[in-house]
Amino acid sequence: MAALEEDFTLSGLVPGAGLDGLLGVEQGLKGDLFLVTDRGRTVILYKVSDQKPLGCWSVKQGQKITCPAVCNFQTGEYAVVHDDKVLRVWKNEDVNLDKVFKATLSADVYSIHSVQNTEPLVLFREGAVRSLDVLLAEPQQKIEAVISDEEVIKWTKLFLDSNQPVLIFVTEKHGNYFVYVQMFNPHNLCKYTLLPGEEPPVTLSFAASVNGRLVTLLCLSCTGCIYETLIPLNHGKPEEKKVLVTSLLLKTYVSGDVLKGVSFAILDKDHVAVMGTSLKAPKENISIWNIKFQTLQTSKELPQGTSGQLWCYGEKLFILHGKFLTVIPFKCEISSLAAALGKLKNIQAPGTQTMSHFVNWGAFQGDGLESRDSNNLTPLKGQSKRSLRTRKNETRSQLEDSTNKQFLSGIKDASEKHLDQQLSKFLADKRTPDFQITIGHIVSELVGRCKTEPPFYPQSSLVQLIQTQVLSYSLCPDLMAVVLEKRDVHLLQLCLQQFPDIPESITCACLKVFLSIGDDSLEGTNVNMESVIGYIDFPQNEKTGKKEVLQNGFSPVLLEEENIDDKLNKSDGMMNTTLTCPVTPQKAALLNAILHSAYSETFLLPNLKDLTVQHVILFLQYLHFLYEKCSENASMTLPGPCPPTLNQIMDWICLLLDAHFTVVVMIPEAKGILTSLYKFVKAQVWVYSELNKIEGSLQQLQKLHQQRNMGLYSIEVLELI
């Protein structure tokens, strides 16, 4: 559950601020410092944890600050604009703003933006954007007008998407809203028209977040509804007049209420904070909503009134409550259905996200699949979880149907490259309720085409489709067969990671492919190495020699295993240095995908029997290596983001031995590994028997203790020798 914590006020705010609000709250150089600019003449630097100001700067009487002061994270300087055109840059040590660097610009500035790791950008009233450095070099340079005369910038924000700054600003003209997305390197400005939803609401506030090439723009209307707009960040050529469709995301108030003084902020991918007052409930309050489950998480009354402004940095909300700037720390936990229903038993340790192994029955209500990989997913990850409860506009759905059909028919003859582009556009734009079915159609279409036209294999498209996380094995049973045939390990790994319902026979087929594929052919493949980076050091140069030996069927690794064993007995300190992985990291990552996949023993065992002896031994060696790695630390876990667990490793060792025991016992190569496993089992038995002994002794001790606490009087026998 998300929660608002105890708020505190920052003292020392100039009394003039009042309820007419602040110009802005911006982050300072360090995480705990914040620059507060009021509507008058003052900029104050606060240290929030100390609740006290560290510095205060004012412009001269008669001057007026017109945009919030920001911190230039690269130089540690502060920048502010007063009287629309006069730019001031100063440092912490400076006392008087009149004596600091000053540059008079040729156009009115709307705002300065600055985020970590990039240089500050200046947005002019007319929509032009310059970097601060460029402006400082030539203050009087000509500033072009980008937006039309009557357009007014309503809201703006700067993001960093894959280390590239993206500036987005919203303008309004006669009740119509336009979204401009400005990108740099290459300089690229896209203009979108914001299509309102069913009824044209008066939009009060905007907020946006970026998540891998996709901007989510949220608008809060005066009816209390939050609308969502997805804007893809494509580097393609600026097209003419693009239209953005908004969809209803959340209704925060009972319909009919008209809000005023409303503001909201995105807290994380599932939570928004909404502040404001409705006509029916005149008290202002701030509330946190879970947009995934559309639940109100917490709410807090603000009896002294606010200025209708809300800023969110890190885990703190800043509001002007009464006359004071108030900081409300908040906490949002990762939302899950269980948490939303109050049934979450234990929260998983961070880093070990679980894959939901259930088929997504509720796809039409919005999918419940938990995300698994944070890095390698499509930008759609976060957005696939919206559930829309609004009535569908029939015309729109018809329109969608027709575009789907069009797209499907396009698949039949498009080239792979073209298909790729089309698909990414399609995936970016379309978030319809029957998305899953559409994707299913597309995949089966593609797979069908692969079957009929053997050279056709749209790998990147398939990757994109699988990463939508709406696919499952049963939705496209032929997909994996095709992929297996192509021996495309990258896609196989993805399927193993994403599909919750792979049959054991296919898992085994994958295992066979993984074990038999040559390390040379693995070199170039795009295998997700996340699960192995924690415990395998690479590049491992000595790998090549070993690999050849393995493929020749001769296995000196076994000898090495015995050596390891001996060394283990001799000195534990040597263990880390001698323990080497019997397979390449790529192969290890693939095998880990197998270990992670779900199976039922009964169905897996017969399929396992098909493995060749060499494969069995190699796999056993790898599992043994994993086990040894596990036992290196006390918690018996492997390092890294999502490594195989000890249980998975042990289960697979048992399964392999069950399936091939008679064979393994016979062949000399397996001797070393079997001895080592035997020793391990013996050691475990010994440990448990010792534990039993300790338990017995402790019980005895307890009995003794109980005996001691006897009554007030007894007659005992004492013998002195």
């Binding site: 009554g711 007030l712 009087y713 007894s714 007659i715 026998v717 004492l718 013998e719």
Partner: protein, 766 residues
């Protein structure tokens, strides 16, 4: 002892019990049943001072039987070094009284401790922290302050408004002077010891001049607002810092005027505005005043300017007490949470020109409020509501590893509170306010080591005697036959005649006591219960013959060489011929009772006597000293015995010498002349004089390993000290008959259960 013999001993033991007649079933009255052991602990109704409840079975004959039988038995046939039935008694409901003040005297290295009930005790830190003197408490004398003046004179002051001087030689209150300022909250002697300053309820500080035999009011200093809770002299004796509620004032001792007033910060961390009580002040020679207060702060003030120099917030509860080392480089404060904090003056610059008070070490030895602390040159001393006196040595000040290097926690008095009527199997418990008489139970069964035997009869509470008047009981004794009980307060002596008939106990006070029997420091009955020996004031020792219903004064021994020092311990020989008396410091005198004249003096020894007893037949006097040495002195030959010389030559085991509680009782085995039975709080020991003495390399506590070992090994490794640590904390142990011991334990948990709940502290992980 051979295995065969040991084996044979068992049937003998069984025989013994089987031969013993089963006691007739007791017919208990309903009234008595109400006063059973269990009921007694559940609650007590108010009783009159001489209320008698008793039950009496026909046990007397049985006891006599057992005695007869024991006499008839051949000691050789008895197996082992000693197999005893032990009456393990835990119903002595003694709760030590909380400590109010501690005062350390540098000159004599002694520590005075006053308790909440007015008891004052003197501990000799040089003599293994032995509690050598003791003034019984008094209901009207709640001691709030305790101080030494003019060298070794001890004064106390309390809420009754009186200042009392104690006579440390005669062990009595010398005089008491009214302070005329209402209840006295604080008192301190000036550095020269010639003036006493008291802080009174009415806000006045009064100076008394200490003259050789009196104190006299000299002047009253400027009156302050509110009671004076703490005061401290400047080491030059010119100024006094006083702490009251919400302020500290500095007064000029000469002119009596207030020179500085420092207000406490009333803004507490908590929201509620409480008043800030200055519980303690200390005036340092550089003019710094250190204060401790109810807000949990230790604050350093500059008395010149009246400014706050340094603040140390210590706890959320009160900081109750403060004491400064004589060198002023270290100080100690005690808090209501039971923690004491050590502050040290540490040079803040390398050239040593500047230094700063730094909080260095916290110690948590108490569970309850630390009401008072003291600072000896080598140790921090603290005492409080939980009644423990803790002497925590500062390891950096200790040069050699000896007694002083060990942490001391003194909980129980170093004197006997229990006496025993062996033949009747009665125990007399002495509480400050009352006496209790209990009769031990019985068993028919026999068993081997560690067995708990089924009881055929439980222990019975026979009688409770409440003291009369405000004074607490200072000593008591029951005669060996059980028919006499005597006790004394500081000013009155009481003697009772007991009568046990059928199922009841009757008690009758002996009213006609001679005039000189006004008080006693020590009372003893002779072995045949025919004589009473009373150590009285002025060091006199009365010998009184007890007749049925009357007394006959036979003789009074006056102290030799004109000293009037009080006698602290008495011992009489079983044949009634010899009486040994130990003074506080003057050594042991032996008197011949047959001829009623002094016999001799035991050669003087540096350490006080903690216990003494005279062995039957040989009339050897065994003396235990506070340094854990044990001597045996032959009375007829007037010299130390050969065994004693051997022990001194050989030296005692280092573990024996490192014990930290004194031996409080010595007794002998009637059939085994080579045995000496003695105990301290944590062990019971039988010394077999016929066995080799252990040297430092042999394990002293070897009973457990011997038990496991074979007979041969046993014979090789056994030594003279048979020690059992089974009974702890052991307040009393005595031999009832040759096969039966009584051990009175007082488990600490039972004491803690009766203390008020401590301040709840947040513990990590709870």
């Amino acid at each position: 002892m051979a295995a065969a013999e040991r084996g044979a001993s068992r049937p003998t033991g069984d025989n013994r019990t089987s031969r013993r007649r089963r006691p007739p079933p007791l017919t208990l009255s309903a009234h008595f049943r109400l006063r059973g052991v269990g009921d007694y602990f559940r609650g007590q109704s108010a009783r009159t001072w001489c209320e008698v409840e008793a039950g009496w079975g026909g046990e007397r004959t049985i006891v006599r039987d057992a005695g007869l039988e024991a006499g008839a038995r051949n000691p050789e046939a008895d197996g082992g070094m000693g197999e005893f039935k032990v009456h393990r008694v835990r119903f002595f409901n003694y709760v030590p009284v909380g400590i109010r003040c501690v005062a350390y005297n540098h000159q004599s290295n002694r520590l005075a401790v006053s308790r909440v009930d007015g008891t004052v005790e003197i501990y000799n830190l040089a003599a293994n922290s032995f509690q050598e003197k003791f003034f019984p408490g008094h209901e009207g004398r709640a001691t709030e302050a305790l101080c030494w003046a003019k060298g070794q004179r001890l004064f106390s002051a309390g809420l009754n408004g009186d200042i009392i001087e104690y006579d440390l030689e005669k062990m009595s209150v010398k005089y008491s002077v009214d302070g005329f300022g209402g209840p006295i909250w604080s008192m301190a002697a000036d550095p020269s010891g010639s003036y006493l300053a008291i802080g009174c309820e009415d806000g006045s500080v009064k100076l008394f001049q200490v003259s050789p035999d009196k104190i006299q009011l000299e002047r009253t200093l400027e009156r302050q607002k509110g009671r004076i809770l703490s005061l401290s002299w400047h080491p030059s004796g010119t100024h006094i810092a006083v702490g009251s509620i919400d302020y500290i004032a500095v007064l000029d001792a000469k002119s009596g005027s207030t020179t500085q007033k420092m207000l406490m910060d009333k803004r507490h961390p908590g929201s509620q505005r409480r008043r800030c009580v200055v519980w303690g002040v200390a005036f340092l020679s550089d003019g710094t005043v250190v204060s401790t207060d109810s807000a949990g702060m230790v604050q350093f003030w500059d008395s010149e300017t009246g400014t706050l120099v340094q603040t140390h917030p210590l706890t959320s509860s009160d900081v109750l007490s403060i004491a400064v080392a004589e060198k002023e480089d270290s100080l100690v404060v005690g808090t209501a949470e039971g923690t004491i904090f050590h502050f040290q003056l540490i040079p803040s610059r390398s050239d040593g020109k500047q230094s700063q008070w730094v909080r260095t070490k916290p110690f948590q030895h108490h569970t309850h409020d630390v009401r008072s602390v003291a600072h000896s040159p080598t140790a921090l001393i603290s005492g409080g509501v939980d009644a423990h006196l803790v002497i925590r040595p500062l390891m950096e000040k200790v040069e050699v590893k000896n007694y002083d290097a060990a942490l001391r926690k003194i909980t129980f008095p170093h004197r006997r509170l229990i006496s025993c009527a062996k033949k009747m199997q009665l125990l007399l418990f002495q509480f400050p306010q009352r006496l209790e008489l209990w009769r031990l139970g019985a068993t028919d069964a026999a068993g081997k080591n560690e067995d708990i035997l089924p009881l055929s009869r439980n222990a019975e509470h026979l009688l409770q005697l409440k003291k009369k008047g405000p004074e607490n009981i200072c000593c008591s004794c029951i005669s060996p036959c059980g028919s006499w009980i005597a006790y004394s307060t500081a000013s009155r002596f009481y003697l009772y005649r007991m009568n046990y008939e059928n199922n009841s106990v009757s008690i009758k006070r002996v009213s006609k006591l001679p005039k000189f029997l006004s008080s006693a420091f020590q009372i003893l009955f002779s072995g045949d219960s025919a004589m009473l020996y009373v150590a009285s004031n002025q060091g006199s020792l009365h010998v009184i013959q007890l007749l049925e219903g009357s007394l006959k004064h036979l003789h009074t021994f006056q102290p030799q060489s004109g000293t009037s020092e009080a006698i602290s311990l008495l011992a009489v020989s079983p044949d009634g011929n010899w009486l040994a008396a130990a003074g506080m410091s003057s050594g042991v005198s032996i008197y011949n009772l047959k001829h009623l004249k002094p016999h001799c003096m035991v050669p003087a020894y540096n350490f006080p006597v903690t216990a003494l007893a005279i062995a039957p037949n040989t009339n050897n006097l065994v003396i235990a000293h506070s340094d854990q040495q044990v001597f045996e002195f032959s009375i007829p030959q007037k010299q130390y015995t050969d065994w004693s010389r051997k022990v001194q030559k050989h030296g005692l085991h280092y573990l024996w010498l490192e014990r930290d509680t004194p031996i409080t009782h010595i007794t002998f085995h009637p059939k085994r002349p080579t045995h000496i039975l003695l105990h301290d709080t944590y062990m019971f020991c039988i010394i077999d004089k016929s066995m080799p003495l252990p040297d430092d390399k042999t394990p002293l506590f070897n009973q457990l390993s011997l038990r496991e070992a074979s007979e041969n090994v046993r014979r090789r490794h056994a030594h003279a000290f048979k020690i059992s640590k089974k009974f702890q904390p052991l307040l009393f142990m005595d031999l009832l008959d040759e096969g039966t011991l009584v051990a009175v334990e007082r488990p600490l948990e039972d004491i803690i259960a009766q203390l008020p709940p401590p301040i709840k502290r947040k513990k990590f992980g709870t």
